[in-house]
Symmetry: D2
Subunit: 384 residues, 4 copies
């Protein structure tokens, strides 16, 4: 009898990251995929990821609304609580053999708590990484609630074991986000028009002579500064003058500061070298990234995917502090001059080589095989 694997997708980037896992589970003879889509993945203003998921051939078993509107610390806390209440219903209805949760956001913690109290074994993808901020606390808390760990790298595995997890439950699978990158490199070139396909706001840009991608999220513990921070990047990108493709940030406490900063900048400057997208399908995004002269911002994509892709990254501020880095990253602070200088440095240097630090592009199948084979239990005790 096949095992029922319930994957909970709560945000656009989580979906991008695990698409290869979803495919591998769905196509595995020993597994049955149950898909719960929740939180910002259901909201129009974050790109209605649920519609993307269905368009890509997956069936959604439950939709779980759990974001309390307000975008401040109180509503973040309460959204987590609501998530536990609501996800408990979904998981209890679906009766999976194992629940899979991804990374380190509050909805992921809600998933982990619901599964734990329902005594359903919990598999966690992407534990053991070091980033600072509330995400760091949450990621390791989830590790402690999880029964199975699919980590990206050896250093991450080492940390998870040090935290007390039994080594036989910790598997270095690589990060499935790299699978998307591998697939994209393998795919034939795409000639269709980006602006026509994905809309967005701002002028149509000429991309054939190189372009920059920007992805900058608000940083939870620096709520008030979100707006000031985004303005530094906006001004740097305006001065740099290369065609620039921006992506809107995820829901999070502070996203308002970032979003409003972008809106105000557009009203004030009507920058003719910037186009703003809500989101792209994961493969299109990777292909776009692969073709970019450089990625700017504080997204993990600059450090993780771009390490594999060999794309230069300008990483701004402390959001990615602590992450292992390949040779493709230059770190800068929230300062338009520093940002601009780093962008120019990459214009002059040779493009970095691909580095397998975060995975070899085959994680999805590896994770599915493990989900089908490893013993599943909820019993746990510190391994020392």
């Amino acid at each position: 009898m096949s095992r029922k694997v319930c994957v909970v997708i709560t945000a656009r980037p989580s979906y991008s990251r695990v698409r290869s896992v979803l495919r591998a589970i769905r196509d595995h003879a020993g597994l049955e995929l149950q898909l719960v889509v929740a939180a910002s993945a259901l909201l129009n203003r974050y790109g209605a990821t649920d519609r993307t998921i269905e368009a890509e051939g997956f069936t959604i078993d439950r939709r779980v609304f759990m974001i309390l509107e307000g975008e401040n610390l109180v509503t973040s806390a309460k959204s987590t609580g609501l998530g536990v209440v609501e996800l408990a219903t979904a998981i209890n209805d679906l009766k999976p053999d194992v629940v899979v949760s991804i990374a380190d956001r509050f909805e992921t913690l809600a998933t982990a708590i619901a599964a734990s109290y329902l005594h359903v074994p919990l598999a966690h993808i992407q534990g053991g990484e070091v980033t600072g901020s509330i995400d760091e606390k949450v990621r390791h808390a989830i590790t402690n609630l999880a029964d199975l760990h699919f980590v990206a790298s050896e250093p991450a595995a080492h940390r998870v074991v040090r935290m007390g997890e039994r080594p036989e439950t910790v598997h270095v699978t690589g990060c499935p986000s790299i699978d998307v990158a591998r697939r994209a490199l393998d795919a034939p070139p795409d000639d269709t028009d980006l602006f026509e396909r994905f809309g967005g706001v701002g002028p149509r840009l000429e991309l054939s002579n190189g372009y920059v991608v920007v992805l900058q999220h608000p940083v939870t513990t620096e709520y008030e500064e979100s707006r000031a921070n985004i303005e530094e990047t906006l001004h740097a990108a305006r001065e740099h003058a290369a065609p620039t493709l921006w992506f809107w940030p995820n829901v999070d406490a502070g996203s308002d500061g970032t979003s409003n900063g972008i809106r105000a900048f557009r009203e004030r400057w009507t920058p003719d070298n910037m186009h703003f997208f809500k989101s792209l399908p994961p493969e299109d995004f990777i292909r776009l990234l692969h073709g970019a002269a450089c990625i700017v911002g504080n997204s993990s994509a600059g450090i993780r995917e771009c390490s594999y892709l060999g794309v230069p990254a300008v990483n701004i501020g402390g959001r990615q502090a602590g992450r292992d880095r390949g040779p493709n990253v230059i770190d800068v602070t929230y300062d338009r001059k520093e940002i601009l200088a780093a962008m120019e440095k990459w214009q002059q240097r040779a493009r970095p080589e691909s580095d397998p630090l975060y995975g070899d592009g085959l994680s999805g199948a590896r994770i599915a095989d493990l989900l089908a084979d490893v013993p599943l239990t909820v019993d746990k005790r510190l391994a020392y």
Copy 2:
């Protein structure tokens, strides 16, 4: 300006454990106590701990109802989520400088999550211990969310540091539950009548020739067996025939099996050597424990407080597995013969000596001093 310290009490045993901390905070010139009473601590069927708290001179700032009735896995999960939603309101209203949470139950996790997302520094009492079951996961998850750690013993401190906490945030204070024991040993003997003062059900017992105390909680991961388990203990105690004082278990998934087992046994056997209490004020409980020939069950009191008190313990089943033990503990399985044999063994042996394994009885003041002095921050990163 004094620091506002918000302590969240969610169950009778948590209150007993931290009463000395509460007193020390309230009486500290540099601290202001904010008291939130929540969950089963508000419910009549668990002894209405809130009334005890007020009777002992504390002021309750917020009462937070969060237990969804049903006593099964789904309601445990949902109660945790509700707790986050409701405690976020209380903590946000009170605006403390630090939140203190105790031990490892689902309400404690709710407290930890609410404080974390509100960016209020979180102090955790009693981390780093090893017990197995869902409590183990939850305890370590709370350690990962916490910014300050007040642990009972050196081995616990070692484990918390291994999990990645910075050593300067981990303080071996001893467990404040031992403070109660110290105070009780210091207090003058009490001659008032137990049965008159605390009611309960069952016959009045003659205690002057020795008596046994029983405290047996349901074990979360063995839901179905709760009733069978309690029956073994009931039969052993009936056969042993010594006057026996029972205490009802806490709310938890499975408590119904235990409670109903006790009720059915009473209806069937009307045992004349057993009296059943809901709860006693902590000091009375300790004094009672101190005078006991032996404690039977699966409560941590048998291992922790009784280690300091030098009271023999018959520890049943796996609930306390992994805890460090002094010489006062005999471990048995859920088997009436084994339980009875251990009780009889303690009748013949000398009473064990007091052992400071879990504290020296002065933890409360130590914790209050630390809360007043240490740096408070919510920024954290794995310390390796």
Copy 3:
């Protein structure tokens, strides 16, 4: 295509009342029954009605826990809110063509709100009655949210129309609780032993020379007095000395006062003429009622079912004020002497005749036929 009818059962008495409706819907060629069991109908301490429902051959589609423990005004309010949150999930999953809610409790209001905002037509059983207290407000609020009204009597229909409902949506079906009574009168006599079958606490009683049934609920707006009130009835029943069968009250703000009053009375007096049941299957209860010398308390059964059965009732206090009465009712206040006097009066008088005031015992089929045939819409406007 058959219509999907979702019935939400939230308490033992609601189930008893609509069992014939459930059967008629289930057996109707044009209807498909969806059964949601919620609130106190899921709780052991109110007789685990969900197990009765399954034992009687129905399939439960969703179980919805929604009672926040605490039994005070705050938890009543919050339980209503939680009910809306949780029932919205169930109704949205089941996608019924019409939702049926019963009577006037807070869970019924939660059902009505969830259905209304989901734009699912709402049928309400038992609107238009007059009883006072919070129930009165809630009952009429539900009438305003409902699209279809199945009322017990002509006076009730008149009131619902006066409130602004279009007459063509108001159907005098009789109350389906009377169907149970009719069925019970038709059934062959039952010789099995009551005490063996249904347990309960208290001595085994000899019933062949007549007995009394007591059913007294706490009255929401007189919270503090619940305990005093129940004591009057307890003393009257003790003095009257006839074998007395008591039933525990439903969950409600104040139930604690009533329940604790009963418990304390039993401890103090160990009355030898009283036996206490949690609940009986509806038909057994009716049969028991039919054989009773009299029913005492404040349950609507004394006024409604007993009107049809021709069983004398002693109705205590204001809980049933405003209800139309047949000749079988004597009203008294919460006073042991008045209660006793009324009980004795019925001993001397002839048994009243059956009266069809609340129905003819054929409501279930009538309601099912209407659910299959009438137009279903959510559009509404005051009819004047």
Copy 4:
């Protein structure tokens, strides 16, 4: 001792409507104002009404977040439930003598339920009106939960009494929204620049030769059509060519369709005669309305305030069906030609005269006096 009056404000239009009531309560010697601001009144994308409230000199006692993001039927239902859960905390903390709720939205129902179950007397402003749709059900349900009724007009009072409310609890106070209009007519003319003060998007318009105001909300039961509907109005306004001031709609199921329709229209047509505001302070809005050549859309302002102001209204679709109308209203369907024709008709006709149908502009003081003087009770029974 003065009575504590807790007013719950849940949306921008509710605040506008009761500002004079808030002032009168605050300034009344026998009353103490407690202000709870909740739901969309706290959200930036609906104009952050809480900041307006504070800027106008009121103190906010509690902020209650309760909108579950998603803008569909399920999230509307769940937001109502959450509102009950959260408002129960606020009302229970504040312990008011009476709670005041306004009109007919889901948050108002949540307020009414929380107050009812907490046994706090409930005063309802604006009951007894006829509008159709879910609002109609909710408005009358609130009437049934309310203990005091402050209605706008004699016909409304008549309907509330017919629904069963005791006549002595029903007071024709006029609608306090008219107070704003009276004040605005009395105030000196304002010469400051609208576009500078209130921002918004779109070109700066020349208003001195007349202008049109548009306010069109999505209609809950016609979810799918919201976008089509708004486009008719957009095209009519574009063709009419007069300077046009638009206001964004409130949060509600379907608001997305409307908002997205507006956004898409702007992208496609960049209309040079339209400017879009989020909201204006109530008096500025009324002054703007008073100077308008005509108001277009489906807001009640066109029928209520504009009746008093003598401003021509083009009322689109069924949202205001059933409301009593003065001579200033022309009704049309969602059809650009009809809309345009009505706008042109008003260009040719004389401006209508002021009509006191909905109030004389002195309701605030009248309501405050009643709140200070009338008996407060939660006991209720149908008055027939």
